[in-house]
Amino acid sequence: MANIDTIITGIRLANPLMLASGILDENGYTMKKILEAGASAVVTKSIGRVERTGYRPPIIAEIPGGLLNAVGLANPGIDNFDHEVEIALQAGKPIIGSIFGGTPDDFLYVGKKMEQYGASALELNLSCPHVLGVGSEVGSDPELVEEIIGELKKKIKIPLWAKLSPNVTDILKIAEAAQKADAFVLINTVRGMAIDIYARRPVLSNAYGGLSGRAIKNVGIRYVYQIRKETGKPIIGVGGIETHEDAIEYIMAGATALEIGTGVYSRGKGIFSEINKGLSSFMESEGFSSINDMVGVAVQ
């Protein structure tokens, strides 16, 4: 058997596949179930400082090649999230706390609490494209990104993963602003929208949404490759991973670990163990003895 474990920012993962933020990770029991189904870690739903109900439904649309969503950062607020992390931790695997905010102070408040709750790392959602004042607004402002990460780096001990948005003109500029982060997570959803032609209006209540799934895989591959090549930093690849071939493509583009979101919807919770099986047999037949041997091999 090929060895499929991997280490990202010092965190040992039994396999490269984690659950991505925002998909089945609001209730601790669900996170625990996903870990039992073979995910090596889960990234929580993005949590902010205060409770938010998010947009009213429709918040999601099934489209060819994936999903379009505008959930609106619904979250219970960090002070109400301790119990969910506690339940998820019962699975004995790493929990990564995804956090968002509008200011360095917000990030610090939420990040500190996540650290106390037992998160192994923080994933900074700098890229959520659909709430004014946070998300992309934050992630497309290099100075603010630098300030947030600088502040967190001083006061948080666990690793910081900066999740970047593909919805910027120059992603490299943002990556440079975020260079104090321990790793980059690429990519968040791509801006999109859908119109119902019989209702003659946008399907999502927020009109604009974020595209995920197969439709964005090749956008993700491109950014992972570019950022790996330009920065050499550890990368967590996410966007449209549904098969072991997709996973390997991301690893060869430079990802050390991966996250799956929409694939859980299209393939079910069994997707983690299925991909791991395929990954292991590919590595055996192609003569790779570890994930690390494959990371970035395609980068020229």
């Binding site: 029991y29 739903k45 219970p76």
Partner: protein, 247 residues
């Protein structure tokens, strides 16, 4: 989104209507659709009519359900689905227990043989009681305006449950919980159809989850055996923001 033109609207109670529309799709009892009122909202609704003509039965409650009850024949409706699982089948006699608009999802299961326990807050709100024959009907109202006074479980206490091979139950979760507690040590088996918040209907948002299972894709129907082992059933759920709340 799927769309259809409403063929008929039936008033079932002063606050509840059935909306019938053509939809060329196989659907099973227990399944639901996410019904969209453009500009207002989208909510999960069980299919109350699963034959050639499909139907939903909706009680006026929030903004979206209220807008649904105001639809008329000829109006267009938008929805996606069908979603969810179905009930187990049985050869023997069935006992059908519905609380309030919970009777809607049970309507397709009613046969000549089935006995009904129909419960509601008041006699005006009793739904589909007329679909059972007189001698196979137990009525329960919270206010005692008709039948036994109290909650649905009080109706069960008047029956010999050994007569039935399977119970089908739908209604508010606390009603289901009181029934589960009552039958926990009894012989009778049961399928419970649950109602929780649903924001996506496709197993993504986690708003409907219980014990790590998604009501929208792995439910909404669960057997007695699963609920007896549950950590969250009848106790806690996640609110629309994601906050854990007591039921």
């Amino acid at each position: 989104m799927i769309h259809s033109i409403i063929e008929r609207v039936d008033m079932e109670t002063p606050t509840t209507v059935s909306i019938l529309f053509p939809w060329d799709q196989d659907v099973l009892p227990g399944q639901f659709v996410m019904l969209w009122i453009p500009g207002v909202g989208e909510i999960p609704i069980s299919l109350s009519h699963t034959g050639r003509i499909k139907g939903i039965t909706v009680k006026k409650f929030g903004p979206t359900s209220t807008a649904i009850t105001e639809l008329k024949a000829g109006d267009r409706i938008f929805f996606r689905g069908p979603y969810g699982n179905t009930f187990r089948k049985t050869e023997g006699k069935t006992l059908i227990v519905g609380g309030g608009s919970g009777m809607a999802g049970l309507l397709p299961l009613i046969t000549q043989e089935s006995h009904g326990v129909v419960s509601a807050r008041t006699k005006e709100e009793l739904l589909f009681a007329d679909r059972f024959s007189q001698e196979k009907l137990t009525i329960v109202t919270d206010d005692g305006s008709m039948g036994t006074k109290g909650f649905a479980v009080e109706g069960l206490k008047t029956l010999d449950l050994d007569e039935f091979s399977l119970m089908y139950i739908c209604g508010p979760e606390l009603m289901l919980k009181s029934i589960l507690d009552y039958i926990a040590d009894k012989e009778i088996d049961a399928d419970f159809s649950l109602e929780r918040h649903m924001k996506c209907g496709i197993g993504v948002c986690d708003s409907c989850s219980m014990d790590g299972l998604q009501l929208c894709t792995q439910g909404p129907v669960f057997p007695k055996s699963a609920l007896l082992k549950s950590d969250e059933f009848g106790k806690e759920r996640i609110s629309i923001s994601g906050k854990r709340v007591r039921l």
